[in-house]
Amino acid sequence: MKNLVILGAGTAGTMMANHLHHTLKSPEWQIHIIDEREEHHYQPGYLFLPFDIYTPEDIIKRIEDFIPKEVQLTRHRIDRIIADENRIELTGGTSIPYDVLIIATGAKIAPEETEGMKGSEWQQSVFDFYTFEGALALRNKLRDWPGGKLVVHITEMPIKCPVAPLEFSFLADSFFKHKHMRDKVDITYVTPLSGAFTKPKATEALEHLLHEKQINIESDFAIERVDNDKKEIVDYGGKKISFDILVTVPTNKGDEVIERSGMGDDLNYVPTNKATLQSLAHGNIFVLGDASNIPASKAGSVAHFEAEILTENILHYIHGEPLKAEFDGHANCFIETGNGKALLIDFNYTHEPVEGSFPFPGIGPLRLLKESRMNHMGKLAFRWIYWNMLLKGTHIPFVSATMSEKGKQF
């Protein structure tokens, strides 16, 4: 019997288990998935937790409920990947050999990369919302905060879901308006980029929204340290921004297991072929989701499109055929803009987000790069789609893994 091992039972790993178990069956194949955690978190929900829009119950389920019965789920800490010997070593010394390995160990925040970030003000006035604990601590802080300077900040790129800090700013504007205290809150959006987003047309639309909502923007800010005493962030050029609450997105890094295995770049991401998703160093290792270094967004939507492509490529690999399927960097994201509205963007490696209609050219019903209630309904509906379709590997109707150029105004 041959072994296909998946490391990580998050969004990407769970989808792969669900895609592959239909084809790779006993007695020829056994699929293993390894993850030390018990809970599966709907990470996009962390955005809504601080504003009391979602409750913890909305975003947490058990990992095992999403893993097919025939797949062997091992709840154990992974010590390292020994790629030259085609095996995984768990802590405690158990060894699991593999014929094909899928790395889906994700990315997480590393606040310790920035001096003073995890200092005395951590979770007092300095918060993250990329972890459950961070989002919850921030919720508790915001519930009775009297107002002041709210600074929303990105440390460095790449980060998971690059639009999330913008959404956080928009939702904060809306949250304080509803509490009739918007005039007591000064919101500043601080980014190391030269503008609100990485792509010109979307940047224009998003900066317009920031302006409309009276959110200040500070661009080209590369943070050097957090000053806990003065409650300031300081950049390498000497620029200082003071805060009463700092909501920061710390440096994101791949999992330490990648570092321990000597397989990552300087941020622990695994060098990966951006079209085939095969590891550059090892033919029988494939990487998807946030764990890879491909120049696509780190987001569940990208992992979803990658999973469809990777399923084909793994079957090609197993049959000794050339890897045919090519990932184009497709991402599709709803951007909450507050007050019950959202934007939708759809883009890939070569095409930036533009205006148009989605998924049916000329019809919609969703509008690209324009605020609408329908897009907001789409975002909320997405949580149901995530738990009930996406994780289970069910194809989402009318949405293809590679981006469609129809109905778009390039």
């Binding site: 190391p192 590369a222 050029g237 300087d266 120049p295």
Partner: protein
């Protein structure tokens, strides 16, 4: 787009970055540096050379990488090319503006 520097016609994009590195030379770098308010010292040239080599090897440039280059730390990089050092330095070096990761 085209512009003339020191009597030489060079191709640039709308942000003023050279689109053909073969047209780059030290004179052009000096003019671009002066426009950015930077007076080039031997240390500047060392950084520019490093950026050009990394670009040639198709390494994605980032502030973090430059901090680990062994040539300058991030603080010095900011002192050499104030405000947005990576953007300024790549422009003077005649290489494309680094595409920030999405």
């Amino acid at each position: 787009m085209e512009r003339i520097i020191e009597g030489k016609t060079i191709a640039v994009n709308e942000e003023g970055y050279l689109t053909d590195f073969n047209q780059w030379d030290q004179k052009i770098a000096e003019v671009l540096a002066a426009e950015a308010g930077v007076a080039l010292t031997p240390k500047h040239w060392e950084v520019l050379k490093y950026l050009q080599d990394e670009q040639k090897n198709q390494v994605a440039l980032s502030i973090r990488r430059i901090g680990k280059s062994g040539i300058v730390d991030i603080k010095e990089f900011y002192q050499l090319f104030p405000t947005a050092p990576l953007k300024t330095a790549t422009k003077i070096a005649g290489i494309p503006k680094p595409a920030s990761c999405i």
